[in-house]
Symmetry: none
Subunit: 205 residues, 4 copies
Amino acid sequence: MGVKERKALERQNRKNQILDAARKLLFSSGIDSVSINKISKQAELGVGTIYFYFKNKEQIFTALQEEGLTLLYSIIFKISETKAPHEEKLRQIALSYYNFSQEHKNYFDLINYFLTTPKVFFEPDLKNQIDMSGNKILLIIQNIVAEGSEQKVFKEKDPQKFSILFWGALHGLTHFKKFEKTILGNQNLEEIYEFSVQRLIYSIK
Amino acid sequence: MGVKERKALERQNRKNQILDAARKLLFSSGIDSVSINKISKQAELGVGTIYFYFKNKEQIFTALQEEGLTLLYSIIFKISETKAPHEEKLRQIALSYYNFSQEHKNYFDLINYFLTTPKVFFEPDLKNQIDMSGNKILLIIQNIVAEGSEQKVFKEKDPQKFSILFWGALHGLTHFKKFEKTILGNQNLEEIYEFSVQRLIYSIK
Amino acid sequence: MGVKERKALERQNRKNQILDAARKLLFSSGIDSVSINKISKQAELGVGTIYFYFKNKEQIFTALQEEGLTLLYSIIFKISETKAPHEEKLRQIALSYYNFSQEHKNYFDLINYFLTTPKVFFEPDLKNQIDMSGNKILLIIQNIVAEGSEQKVFKEKDPQKFSILFWGALHGLTHFKKFEKTILGNQNLEEIYEFSVQRLIYSIK
Amino acid sequence: MGVKERKALERQNRKNQILDAARKLLFSSGIDSVSINKISKQAELGVGTIYFYFKNKEQIFTALQEEGLTLLYSIIFKISETKAPHEEKLRQIALSYYNFSQEHKNYFDLINYFLTTPKVFFEPDLKNQIDMSGNKILLIIQNIVAEGSEQKVFKEKDPQKFSILFWGALHGLTHFKKFEKTILGNQNLEEIYEFSVQRLIYSIK
DNA sequence: CATGAATGAGCATTCATTCAT
DNA sequence: TATGAATGAATGCTCATTCAT
C-alpha cells in the first residue's frame, strides 16, 4: 500500500471517528444537542481537528443524513428484490417508511431538518449529494411501478410522477403523527396510513 | 366606552404591536432569527413587556401560526362556499394550498416548524389550540367529500380518512419543491402536483 | 365598631391575604421561587397593592420569618411550661429545635437567610423586630437555666451566656446536616446532636 | 521546560486570573453580585473563556471556598503544631476561628453560603471536595482531643463527636454577631465566645 | 385604595468558528 | 495534521420596583 492510499485510509478513519461520535450524540440526546464541542469531546479529538475534516456542522449533519438515507435505501432495496408481487412491494415499502420514521426517529428528524429548514444558503455540492441519495430511493419505487405497468399489473403511464406522489403522500402523512391525540381523534395514524397506501395503489390498478 | 373595554382594547393593541414586530422579523429573516430580544427591540418595548403579554416565545409563534392557519382557512373556506362542483372544489383547494406554500412561505415555514420540530415540551393547551385550527381546515375537505359521496358524485365511504390522505399528500408534495432542480429533473413541481390532485380525486370517483 | 377600627381590620386582612399567598409559595417551591409577581398572582391582587401593604420583599420575608419564630417559640414555650425537670426541659427544647429545622425546613431556611445574608443595608426597625422574636426564645432557655441554678439543680452562674452557647451550639450543629454523608461518615447527625446536648447540660450540672 | 509543562502552567495562570477576578468582586461587593459576566469583564476575558476553565459558576465558588478553607486550615494547623498544652491549643483554635470569621468575612460568607443555601443541585464531586477540606480541619481538632485523652489531660471517649460539637458550637456562635446590639445587650460576642470555649473545654477535662 | 402595565438590566450558559502554535 | 484556547454575541427568561390612572 502506497503512502497515498494509507493517507486516504487514515483520513477516512478519522472521518468515521468523528461521525461515530456525532451519531452517538444524535441518538442519545437528539438533534438539538449535537454541537461541535460535544462531538470533539466524544471523539476525543480537538475541535480544530473536526473542522479539518468537515467544513462545518452542516456537513456532519449531511453525512449523518446520508447514513439515514442509505439505511432507508437498503431497507427498501431489499423489499424491491423480493419475489413479492408489485403491489405487495409497494405496500411493504410504504409500511417500512412509516416504521423507519418511528424506529429511526433521529435519522428521520435529520431528514426533516434538511427538508424543512428555510435556510437559503446551502452549498450546491452538499445539496446535490443529499438529493441524489433521495433520488435512489425514488427510483426504486419508480421502477416497481414501471415494471408493473409493463407487465400490465398496473396501468400507470407516468411512473415517475406517480412515485413522487406516492412518496410525497407517505412523507406528508408521517407528519400527522403529531395530531394523533387531537385531529385524528380515536383513530391512530397507522390505520390511516394503511388506508392511504391502499388507495394509492388502487388508483393505479 | 367604559374603562374595562378601553383596557381590553389597549391590551389587544399591544399584543398586536408585539405580533407585528415578530411577524416582521419572521418575514424578513426567517424563523431562526426571531428572538425575544429582537422582537422587543423591533416593537420598541422592554423584553419584560413582551413577557407580560405572552407567556413565552412559543406562545408568540403559536399566535403567528394561527394567523397563518386562519388565512389559509379563509382561502379554503371561500372555495368551499362557491357553487363549483365538488370535484372542482377539491382541485381548487389543492391548488390554493400549493399557492399558499409559495406565496405565504413564512407562514408555511412556521407551520412546518411546528410540524417537524422534535421538541416535545409543548404545552398541551397551545398544542390543542393549533391543532384545532388545522382541524377546521380538514373538516372543510371532509365535508366536501362527504357531501359529494352523498350525492353520488364520489364513492368514498370514509371521508375523514380520505381528507387526511388528501391533505397529507398535498402537504408532503410541497416539500419536494426543494428537489425541483435535482430529483424532479426537467419537470416542475406544479405539474406533478396537479397530476397528484387528479389522481387523488380520481380515486374516489 | 368605628370607621377607624374597621379600616385597621381590613388592613390586617389584606396583609394576611398577602402573607397567605407568600407562605403558600414558600412552602410549595422554596424560598428562591417567592417573587412579588408570583405572590400577587397567588393572592389575586395587583403588584401595586402588595407594595402598598409591604414596603418591599424583605418585609414580607420578615413577616414570614416571624411566623416561623413564633411557631418555634410556641413549641419551646409549651415545653417550658411542663412539669418536667429542668434538665429534661433543656433536652426537649434542644430536640425540638432539631425537629423544627427538619420539619419546618422552609421557615428554617428563611431564618438562615436573614442570619447569613451579608447584605449591609437592613432597616433598623426590621432588624430589631426580628431580633426580639429571637430574644423571646432565648429568654425561655435562660429562665430555665436560671431557675435551675436557683434550685441548685444547675450550677450555672451566668444563665444568659450559657443560653447563648446552648442555642448557638444547637444552631451551628443543624448546619452540619449537609455533612451527613461525608464528614460525619457512618454517624447520623441526630446522634451527634444528642451527644452534644448531653454534654452541654452535663457541663452545668 | 517542555511544551506540556508550559501549557499546564499557562492553564493554571488563567485559572488564577479568573479566580483573582472573582475574588476581587466577591470582596468588593459581596457574594450576591458575583456573576459570570462580571467576572469575565473584571478578568478581561470572554465569558466563553471562563466556561472553558470552569464548568460553571458553582465551581468557581467552590475554588474560592477552598481557598478560604485552606487559609483557615493553615492557621489552625500552625496552632496544632505548637508546643502549647492541648487545652491551650483548643482555645487558640477557637479564637482563631472567631478571628477568621471577622477578618476574612468574605471567605466566611462564602462558607456560610454553601452551608445554608437550600439549593440541592450541587454536583457530588464538588460537594465532596469541599467537605473534605472541612474534614481536614475537623481532624485537627479531633486529634488534639484524642491525644489529650490518651495523655489523660482530657477524659473524652469520643473525640470525633466532641470535635463536631466543638466546631459546630463555635460556628453557630459566630452567627450571633448580628445580635450584638440587640439580643446580646451590653455584652459583646467575643466575651460570650470565650466563655463558651471555656465551658466546652472544661466539659472534657 | 387598588391596579397592572412597563421596565431593562441582569442571569447562567451555549455555540460555531477561528487561528496561532 | 492536530490542537485547544479564545471569543462574545446570542439565547429565553425573571425580577423588584415604579407610577400614572
